[in-house]
Amino acid sequence: MAPKSPRPDRTVLIVRKHHWLVRWTHWLNVPLLFGLIATGLAIYWAAPVFKHAPDPVTGSRDYLADLGFAIARLTGDPSGGRWVYEHFGLGTGQLAGALRLHWLLAYFFMLNGVLYAIGLMKGGGWRALVPRPSDGAEALRMIRYYLGVIPHAISRKPWPHPVVRSKYNALQRGAYFTMPLVGALVVLSGWAMHKPSQLGWLERLFVSYDGARIVHFACMLVLGSFVVPHVILVVADGFDTFRSMLTGWSTRLKSDDREGA
């Protein structure tokens, strides 16, 4: 169903979707995470944690450099082992600059997370994120639905969206519930690396110093890879969903029975 744009001359029915703090912090996460990943990779380059014996051909000792060599070979790029670090990170050989930016952005990221949590509380948005017993079955239904979308579109057969009575479907809820937790984990593992002596208990929580590094890296991958399906599904779901994260309201009422993003 096409989203309805409100006509200026009449009364429209809207539902309030997102508290303004949730909306602002949601968008701020984009440049913050982008910057944190770019600077983080520049820091990571100085001493990779995922290492192997030197490659006899390339001399590479780390898996991200290997990936860089593979991509650079395919694309004919001269950067070789630096490919990943230069395309997703600030680049190589600038540890001091990357550290300064990483701390700066990290403090803003933590502040942003606190404001997001306050927004979830004040706007009651947290209620829609709490997992519930029906989530397992509903998640399977949603996966079945998504797998069928393209085949049914090709064969031009109807493929109705499962009825979802809550704000989010189970897959969305799972993702939106997990992301703040991963955000908290990335902050905790960051502090464990940053202050392993004063926050020794935190370092032990991640078993060892390298344990914290591995968790930090894994959280980065989870946060980064969340963005791809998130953006695809918002685009697929339509303008109303995108607008609701900007304005806070939606003209799509639950009786319309469609969900996505």
Partner: protein, 282 residues
């Protein structure tokens, strides 16, 4: 059920269209401001790669005209770095011990110098010079004078700013014991540690120097080490005397120390002059 059903509300179409317009304009302004801020904060080296040529200069000039100059960027980032250092200093506790390990848990330790290790010849006639003492004198201690202090051993982790770390078994004297034997002048808050014999990457003489706050120097696990793995320190690891301060980043753990001076003002620090933080508390 925790989640409450959505209740549609009636709103004036005119009012929400206006609000929508305002929000979209604010969003666009936010994107522009973020792009400008990101360009401002990016290191020059990254900018050179992203946008080679004259366009970069024009963009930089434009940014500088609204106050987003390279100089202001450095001031801003330095302030962020100082804030982080202040957080580290606030977290520091004199009584908190860092984690210690069993001798069997040691791991290979990279011998990172800022350049090359000192030449063996430079150790002949080595002394440790102490300045800024309460006595007002300059003391010169040789290896035998240091050997009279009680020997301490510990197995702790050294964490490099680059991200690697290693567990090492150290032996030496407690910095606190040296401070007790040769107390700093009243009012001193810092120790300036210096290696006059260290060399740059090309092998030319280049002193290395770090600043250590006195609370860190007094910490029970801060050693002036003379041994690694139960044997005398090799040249690569800072013979004849190096700092082992597990509450600080590895770059503060200066090797081949020749001078310690106590002072009231914060001393210069080799890596801080090269854009790294200054307090470096772990």
């Amino acid at each position: 059920m925790i989640e409450k059903p959505e209740i549609p509300e009636a709103a004036s179409g005119h009012a929400i269209a206006q609000q929508s317009r305002r929000d979209f304009l604010a969003f666009a302004a936010g994107i522009l401001a973020t792009a400008a801020g990101a360009w401002w904060l990016l290191p020059d080296k990254t900018k050179a790669r992203l946008l080679p040529g004259a366009a970069r200069d024009r963009l930089d000039t434009l940014a500088a005209r609204v106050g987003l100059s390279g100089r202001n960027r450095e001031l801003f980032l330095d302030r962020a770095l100082t804030f982080d250092d202040d957080v580290a200093e606030a977290l520091f506790s004199q009584d908190r011990r860092v984690r210690t390990y069993a001798r069997s848990e040691t791991t290979p330790l990279k011998p990172n110098y800022h350049g090359q290790a000192p030449l063996p010849e430079s150790l002949a006639g080595w002394t440790l010079t102490l300045d800024g003492l309460a006595s007002g004198r300059t003391e010169r201690l040789d290896a035998s004078a240091l050997a009279r202090f009680p020997k301490r051993e510990q197995v702790t982790r050294l964490v490099c700013v680059e991200g690697w770390s290693a567990v090492a078994w150290w032996g030496g004297i407690a910095f606190a014991d040296l401070l007790r034997a040769f107390p700093p002048a009243p009012g001193a808050r810092w120790a300036a540690l210096r290696s006059q014999i260290s060399r740059d990457p090309a092998g030319r003489p280049e002193p290395y120097f770090v600043s250590i706050d006195l609370p860190t120097a007094h910490h029970a696990q801060t050693l002036l080490a003379t041994e690694l793995s139960g044997r005398p320190l090799p040249l690569a690891h800072g013979a004849p005397l190096r700092l082992v301060a597990p509450v600080k980043l590895g770059l503060k753990n200066i090797k081949a120390i020749t001078h310690i001076a106590y002072q009231a003002q914060e001393p210069a620090d080799y890596w801080n002059l090269r854009g790294y933080s200054k307090y470096d508390g772990l």
